[in-house]
Amino acid sequence: MSNLNIDSIKNQTYDAIVIGSGISGGWAAKELTGKGLRTLVLERGREVKHVTNYPTTTKMPWEFEHRNQLKKEVVDANPVVSKCYAFYEGTEQFFVKDAEHPYVQEKPFDWIRGYQTGGKSLMWARQTQRWSDFDFEGPARDGFAVDWPIRYADIAPWYSYVEKFAGISGNKDGLASLPDGEFLTPHEMNCVEKYFSQQTAKNYKDRHIIMGRAAHLTNPKQIHYDQGRASCQNRTICERGCPYGGYFSSNSSTLPWAAKTGKMTLRPHSVVHSIIFDEKKNKATGVRVIDSNTKQMTEYYARIIFVNAAAINTNLVLLNSTSHRFPNGLGNDNDLLGKYVAFHNYRATINAEYEGFLDSTTDGRRPNSAYIPRFRNLVKQETDFLRGYASGFNAGRYQHEDRNGMGEDLKNNLLNPTYNNVWSVGSHMMGETIPKASNFVTLDKTLVDPWGIPQLRVNVDYDDNDVKMTKDFFEQLSEMYTKAGFKNIRTNDSNRTPGLDIHEMGGARMGKDPKTSMLNKWNALHNCKNVFVTDGASMTSTSTQNPSLTYMAMTARSADYAVKEMRKGNL
């Protein structure tokens, strides 16, 4: 790293550095460049340009060599990522293969990663539910983790701000548990979903079935056309990348917007080794980057640094940022860094059948499903476990064909599918898990990854609270299904490994007190105030809602604060 002359230091100096180009890094890039900052965006993976680098997006089913089935050698070589529902022949190129970035599973943890510009925003499930004060007040009310340093009122305007730009479809349902947003036209619930909604409203005063809110352009506004995006075409193959920009991703939205300012430098193949801390200035001055092709290390400098590497990798970068002042990782005076990791419990599903509406079906496809906001322990504690769960709900009138026999009869049956004489219905649980010191990540003392960076050791597991909650989900949903007249109810506990929910959070939690948290209410490190963490690592608790929208809003809010502080000369 020596040999730096004044010119090269100048060439390697920006106003801001953003580590990561996924859903939160993209927002940091957009906000910081939009406010005039020369911003370096570091992406550890390759560049994936919107449309151009979506190789399978316009392929028809018959154009896939194995009709979208994975090759056996791929499954065998990738026991972790092969478990992911979105990993198939058409999406292989967007997922990190197991051998590409090794980590140590002290307890089984399926770490699903996307290393490319846009990160996992390319393949995400696009559910965008706001969090409420039932979530932000949870730790304080129920006595776990630490109190969030913010409330819904702090972030509500920023939800509105990001929703308008990203494009979120949804219905204004007027529920305190799931605040309404700036919505585009909602998707439609089908006959049986509407029926279940009505039945549930009749049977329970505090339970609701609503249409999910999703990041799809159902009726684009000028701001979306200005991004070069168009209406969602209901293809429901989103995870291959969308040529219409019909759903929100960094690639289709925030990154091109940031590029248009002329202020962004996007550097792919840039694995961040660590953040440089200057003891005299008492702040971070830049980052050390390893080029993944040449393995060469380069330093880049900036006045502020946004860490958006995705929850677990953000922990890795901070833990590896050691200095004389911070021997245990950047800002880590309290030894909390890497601890209180939590996730969402997706183990449980319940399926059933309904014998009504048999003269009706659906038409077209819907990249979304209905949603059951959390009702358990919502306003007060009512069970022997803490917190609760939200749930998806989906009804479909499926067709089948008789596959018995061979010859002309079989052929005729295959070409004339008939509707099942029931509707199929199903729900999956999205349970809040309790952040604990015993769920943590650390750095291995000897093993390193291909870039010479210590491997991460993951120690995350379910606990008794999750088991009780899963049981309650089965009981409550079974009761709701039974009261609605659904038959043949089947419950399934997949016992799936944590991580597969792809909602890992925490490790660098926000809080009011530097003794018990890593980040302040603006997502800045208490002990290094020009470093901001606005991805999943910053989450104090997990709520039951999908977290991405909250990362986006947090990032925009934090970037606004950071630039104001810079301009005041405070950073």
Partner: protein, 173 residues
């Protein structure tokens, strides 16, 4: 439904000129067996006649003309485990053994009706190798057929971009 029938009729007239996708054109038996998978090579056309027996040509194309006999070895070689590959490799000889037992001639020498009888018998066989072979080949034949361009553009239309979702429409009779 008018449009659908029209499309269907066009398909029937041009059916013979159906173009296989590029990945299918690159196939030939030699490249499979050399590059992917070493199994006893089924006699010329045997797999083609088996898949054609499972899904025959009627007033629409059958499995043979759709090249399902090229799709199946590809899938077996790339996506299946050793056990399934073993069942597949052994099966062809069993087809001929059954044909000889039933009709005193090879499967290829049988007529269409006799071939169907051979496969039906094997599908109900107490010999698990025979039953598993038919299950495997029949399953892949159906998969290949239903996901073929011909079927998905002419017979069971795949909509690439429906641009709509209606939650409650009458079932078409």
């Amino acid at each position: 439904m008018q449009r659908r029938s029209a499309v269907k009729n066009i398909a029937l007239t041009i059916g013979a000129a159906i173009v296989l996708p590029s990945w299918a054109n690159a196939w030939n038996k030699d490249s499979f067996l050399k590059n992917h998978f070493s199994i006893a090579s089924p006699p010329e056309n045997l797999l083609a006649e088996i898949v054609e027996t499972i899904i025959p040509k009627t007033n629409t194309l059958g499995a043979k003309e759709l090249g399902i006999q090229q799709f199946i070895p590809k899938m077996i070689a790339d996506c299946y485990d050793k056990k399934a590959q073993g069942i597949y490799a052994k099966g062809f000889e069993l087809v001929d053994t059954n044909a000889k037992n039933l009709f005193s001639k090879s499967f290829l020498e049988c007529d269409a009706k006799q071939r169907l009888e051979v496969l039906n018998k094997m599908s109900k066989s107490e010999n698990s190798d025979e039953k598993s072979f038919i299950q495997l080949v029949k399953g892949l034949t159906i998969k290949g057929y239903l996901s073929s361009e011909y079927v998905m553009t002419n017979l069971r239309i795949y909509e690439y971009a429906p641009a709509r979702y209606h939650g409650c429409v009458p079932v078409k009779k």
